[in-house]
Amino acid sequence: MSRIRAAINFIRARLHHDEIAREVETELRFHIEMRTRANIEAGMAPSEARLAAQQSFGNFEQFKISCCEIKRGFPFDLKALRMGLYIAIACLAGGFALVAVNLPHHSFIGVIWQLAAIAVLMCSFLVGRRKQRQRH
């Protein structure tokens, strides 16, 4: 469920840049406001309290940009997605091979299926081999 929510947040962040930037800014300003109040309660003058709050917060603009970038970032682990894609290709190739073997060889459709199965198997083999070479 939380992954679905993360995906919805990602799409929203991609579609509504300005709204997200405003939300981030409101949130960060709330933090500085709260720290300022705490500083005033601790006995600081208001201007001194705000300055101290801003200093303890750090680089406001930098954090705002970082937060917006994270919001717009892809919320899933690409390595796991890639692995899933390889498994899907392997399953597809296996399925094609199974169908092709069981089809009568003399029909035109049967030959097309066999060629498709060979093409998928070749592609998955070439992709797999290239990845393995990159790793070594």
Binding site: M1, S2, R3, R5, A6, N9, F10, E23, V24, T26, E27, L28, F30, H31, E33, M34, R35, R37, S56, F57, G58, N59, F60, Q62, F63, S66, C67, I70, K71, G73, P75
Partner: protein, 110 residues
Amino acid sequence: MAKSKAGLLQGTLDMLILKALSLGALHGYGIGQRIAQISGDELKIEEGSLYPGLYRLEQRGWVQSEWDVSDNNQRAKFYKLTRAGRKQLTLEERNWERLAGATMKALRAS
């Protein structure tokens, strides 16, 4: 003797945020306060750095947020731990204990 506050080791901020949220939903400022409270005011965090951390955790699905009204009637974003976040916290606590134990063992070796 004056105590010097410890800086955070890389990667521990996420664990501390999860720990702070395991005690209840909070806004960003509250999380900073709770971390200070549970660490006995020993850990020094640049307050703004909490937010990129929080956003990363939300993106991973370990925390979720919603806008609400704070005690002082201001609009604030509150965060709470998800079930996946609770599992992650348990995992990170276990890893941290193992790492701390191993480091202590190495330091005590003669």
